[in-house]
């Protein structure tokens, strides 16, 4: 009976190709939307998002508008529960939402190495630490911009030499370019000597992040610039709030894609069964049970959907892997990454949608009035 199903699919190649292609395109979009959702989720949850704080200038959003004294770090370090403070100068080429945002973060190279979850895949820390205009580039930026170790890279007023490419267990980190703090502070146009954009605060294991954040703001209230301190995840979600709303809305697009596949495969299968209703009557006449006829139709719709769905999912994962896509705004970025969860979701959705799409035509094939169907020309 498997031969019958496979040969039926092969015999109607044009129909099969169109259905599989449609399902593949829809599942491609579904996985892409899924990767954006995952990216946002990763950005706002997890240890990095929950166990570190960002101290930013109060009522400011874009990195270019936040200017905090660098020596705030000493006062912050005195707050109980603070393990380490990293002053960071941020420079971005675009404060608006962009698919090719370039974000530089300037910090002490040794501190970057010690505190950030980075692994150099090319280059070395020593060169990064010793050269003033050295930069290590996140894997995604390097992919998007075609950068490799040894390349010069200029954007706006900033010119750096790429001395390494890094991977990170925090995917959004792979959209950053790290330089030394001094380099970025003294870049022409920034005029930020002694100033930083933000302080990143690492907490001790037993510290309550919200309590420490309140205490930091209270301590710095007497300083020249008022601050607002939040968990890193909350800070990034707030920074990307416009995008978060859009991404929240985009999950409906994912559901729409699933609906599209369902409708496409169901329509194709219904038409196929209607065209071959006499064939199903013949099969039942020679002894195929109605339930088995049902299974044949379900197998057909599921195979079409799974082949299309898995193709679309794999293409999406490959595009995400190769493309290094990210969307960002105001210095924060959401990384679109392939993941095992996405592959499993894509496959499961394909199987479930394939089965669901086949139910109506399967019932039609199983309950065919045999005598009437055999009379058809």
């Amino acid at each position: 009976m498997t031969t019958y199903v496979l040969k039926t699919i092969w015999r109607h190649r044009t129909r099969t190709l169109l259905t599989v292609t449609g399902a593949a395109v829809a599942m491609f979009v579904f996985c892409f939307v899924g990767s954006v959702q995952e990216g946002l989720h990763r950005l706002t949850t997890g240890a990095d998002a929950d166990r570190s704080l960002i101290v930013f200038q109060e009522s400011r959003f874009c990195p270019t508008s936040s200017r905090l004294p660098e020596d705030y770090s000493r006062k912050i370090e005195e707050v109980p529960g603070v393990r380490e403070v990293m002053p960071i100068q941020v420079w971005t080429n675009n404060c608006r939402a962009s698919l090719d945002i370039v974000v530089f973060q300037g910090a002490d190279p040794e501190q970057i190495r010690r505190t950030r979850p980075l692994t150099l895949t090319d280059g070395d820390w020593q060169t990064f630490s010793s050269q003033r205009d050295a930069a290590i580039v996140g894997r995604n930026v390097a992919q998007r911009r075609g950068l490799k170790t040894g390349d010069p890279f200029s954007i706006g007023e900033i010119s750096v030499n790429v001395t390494g490419i890094f991977e990170s267990s925090v995917p959004s980190e792979e959209n950053l370019i790290y330089t030394s703090l001094a380099f970025l502070q003294y870049t022409r146009g920034l005029d930020a000597a002694g100033l930083v954009t933000q302080h990143e605060v690492l907490l001790t294991d037993d510290a309550d992040p919200d309590r420490v954040a309140s205490e930091i703001d209270a301590v710095l209230r007497s300083g020249p610039v008022a601050t607002r301190t939040r968990r890193k995840g909350a800070f990034q979600a707030s920074t990307l709030s416009d995008l978060v709303d859009l991404i929240g809305f985009a999950h409906w697009l994912g559901y729409a894609c699933v609906g599209l596949v369902l409708s496409l495969v169901a329509t194709t299968t219904v038409m196929s069964v209607q065209d071959r209703i006499k064939e199903y009557a013949v099969l039942q006449t020679i002894g195929v049970r109605p339930l088995r006829a049902m299974r044949l139709v379900l197998a057909e719709s599921t195979i079409l959907c799974v082949v299309g769905g898995i193709s679309g999912t794999l293409l999406a994962l490959a595009a995400l892997e190769i493309g290094g896509f990210a969307i960002g705004a105001e210095g924060a970025t959401i990384s679109f990454q392939p993941s095992l969860a996405l592959a499993i979701t894509g496959t499961l959705v394909s199987v479930i949608v394939g089965l669901a799409a086949g139910i109506a035509p399967a019932v039609q094939a199983a309950s065919v009035p045999i005598v009437n169907a055999l009379r058809q020309a």
């Binding site: 009976m1 031969t3 019958y4 040969k7 039926t8 092969w10 015999r11 006499k278 064939e279 013949v282 099969l283 039942q284 006449t285 020679i286 002894g287 195929v288 049970r289 109605p290 339930l291 088995r292 045999i370 005598v371 055999l374």
Partner: protein
């Protein structure tokens, strides 16, 4: 007890305001090994009777028993199982599955039985040999002539070694020469394999190959002739081997 027994079988259809009764309290016994032909004008219920015996249609009243099983009592699924094991159906328009080869078409009914792969292969090969189409096993229906398609249909009907084979106008769509070949084949299968056959036909020449001819008109049998069941005779070695 006869192999096929119909008792008081009634079938009615509604056509607009009119009620048509193609079968009106029909009684019929068909013995094992018999070859019965059923003739009559169009719309007199010949095919309906065939469909009722096959269990693909249900009577409004009466009982139909085939090989000891009262088919009128079986559910749709049970009927399918029963047909797979006990009934072969030869269609007028062959009704082969177009995406399957001759071999695969003949193999279909055996997939529904508990047979090993080698048993299936042996049965299919012998059925194809019995209808003289071993050399066309890999051909698709579109690559076969009408007569060859019908012979594949016959091989498909006998491959599961059914108790009864029903044939609905098996020569209706064939030219004279091919029709004669098919008639001969059906006769040989009946005589040499002792297969019980019930055949519907419009053609009195075709009906004559049967051991008993029935004429149905306005829901009743009009006449019967040749009531002696055929006997198994020595015949073609291949067909005997199949049996």
């Amino acid at each position: 007890m006869a192999l096929v027994e119909l008792r008081g079988v009634c079938k009615r259809f509604r056509k607009g305001d009119e009620t048509i009764t193609p079968l009106d309290h029909i009684d019929l016994d068909i013995e094992a090994g018999e070859f019965v032909s059923l003739m009559g004008p169009s719309g007199t219920g010949k095919s309906t009777l065939l469909n009722l015996v096959s269990g693909i249609d249900r009577p409004d009243s009466g009982t139909i028993t085939v090989a000891g099983t009262e088919v009128t009592k079986l559910s749709r699924s049970k009927l399918a199982d029963w047909r797979a094991a006990n009934l072969g159906y030869i269609f007028q328009t062959h009704n082969l599955i177009p995406v399957l080869t001759a071999y695969e078409n003949v193999e279909l009914p055996t997939l529904l039985l508990k047979l090993t792969a080698s048993q299936r292969r042996q049965r299919v090969e012998l059925a194809l040999e019995a209808v003289g189409l071993s050399d066309r096993a890999d051909h698709y229906p579109r690559q076969l002539s009408g007569g060859q398609e019908q012979r594949v249909g016959i091989a498909r009907a006998i491959v599961a070694h059914p108790q009864v084979v029903v044939a609905d106008e098996p020569t209706g769509s064939l030219d004279t020469e091919t029709s004669e070949q098919v008639q001969t084949l059906l006769q040989r299968l009946n005589k040499e394999l002792d297969i019980t056959m019930l055949m519907v036909t419009h053609d009195s020449d075709v009906a004559a190959i049967a051991s008993r001819q029935l004429v149905l008109d306005r829901g009743k049998f009009l006449e019967q002739s040749g009531t002696t069941p055929t006997r198994k005779t020595d015949g073609d070695e291949m067909i005997k081997q199949f049996g």
